[in-house]
Amino acid sequence: MKTSTTYIHVFLLLILGFNIGYGQGKRKNDANTHAWKYEIEGIGTGVQGSYQVKIWSIGSSQEAVIEQAKKNAVHAIIFKGFPDNNRVKGQKPLATNPNLEQEQLAFFDEFFLNGGKYLKFVSLLANGSILPEDRIKLGKSEYKIGVIVSVNSAELRRDLENAGIIKGLTTGF
């Protein structure tokens, strides 16, 4: 009887420990989402209406970084753009208003929720495989990883225009 109680206690402790660890990792990832800590570089002209970019993100595990990279890539295309990279042409952000993110906070909070609408506009290239030189260990459980993704900028722009978040070229005409 005593042995089985001990087993139950150990089991409960293990579940608690896992939840704490998972919660910390998740909180860290959520914090990364709101901090938008990432770097972006253009790597090629994609098919018509899409950009191929490498997103360097920081996270506690490779899986977490890959998911974060998708969010970061869409965020970058909307708000940051990316500079020229050798012969790869840089692009300006879709949003021309630098305060758009703050002005449309509720919209973008929902847009960038885990599993949110942003996923419709981004896809991993090369099945999300990461080159050895694109994986840098920063600390005990912190990685900086470069993930190559393709962002469908034409569809993303159309969606934001239809939602009235950004102005289209024909607005006012």
Binding site: G49, K89, T96, S153, K167, L169, F173
Partner: protein, 314 residues
Amino acid sequence: MTKLRCLAIILMMPFLSIGQAKKPTLMVVPSDLWCKEYGYLTEFNNQGTKVLIPDYKKALQEDANLILVISKINELMADRGFPLKNLESILKSLENQSAEDALLMSSEGAEINENPIDKLKKVAKADIIIQMTYTIKSVGPKNTVTFNLQGIDSYTNKQIAGSSGTGAPSFTAEIPVLLAEAVVANIDLYNVQLQNHFDDMFENGREVILRVLTWNNWAHNLESEDFGGDMLSNIIENWVHENTVKNRFSTLDATENMMVFEQVRIPLFNEKGQATDTRRWAFNLKKYLMDKFQIESKLMMKGLGQAQLVLGDK
């Protein structure tokens, strides 16, 4: 019920159009540099002076890459809600129109009126000309494409948008593929600047040029003080001041015979909220001078954004 809705929509149509600015027209044209590079310039004798002018018709009939680039730009702009005027179709329709006008005759044998100015004005026009240049460089098996897009505002001749760059060299991709890639890489940057131009236009009005001239048989000139005691040039300047967005304009030149106003920002809508343009705006000045001072004048348009008002006669 559905019929009633349809009827309501039809009745609302005129009101819905109020508040919409006139949509600018865009057209892609190969640059003079491109025409020179690929041998599409023709020599024209302009009263003893040899002038080289681009032969667009020949270029469009002979250069498959040019057609590809123009069609790609058209495709991408149509996707953004801005279908472009097609240079080839416009050139054809101008030719057909001239041929038809030459044959047109009334029942009593009269022909269509066309003075030399009308003939001169029969050219392909658009509010914004997208001037395109590309050069292909081949070093051994390696090809590189340098691409340049310039958006020229026909009203002011200012460059309002642009994007240029050299693509990555390729050993395998064919030239048409590299050209299409160059268009795709450059068009979004070009459109960002075009959007900025439109935003500026909505905020500060459309930029145009106004020239005021006088006929030599007119008894007055622009320095006459026979119109309410003030100099006519001051009266005109005051009118321009009051009828521009944020009173923005600059008087480039003013003599007794002519005045030139540049950077004149005209509103996109009139006081009734209807879309307006340079001709309509300048017509208000013509009407003002006639109603208040009984000055006859002739209003002519030079290009799309330049109004010319000649005082003293119609």
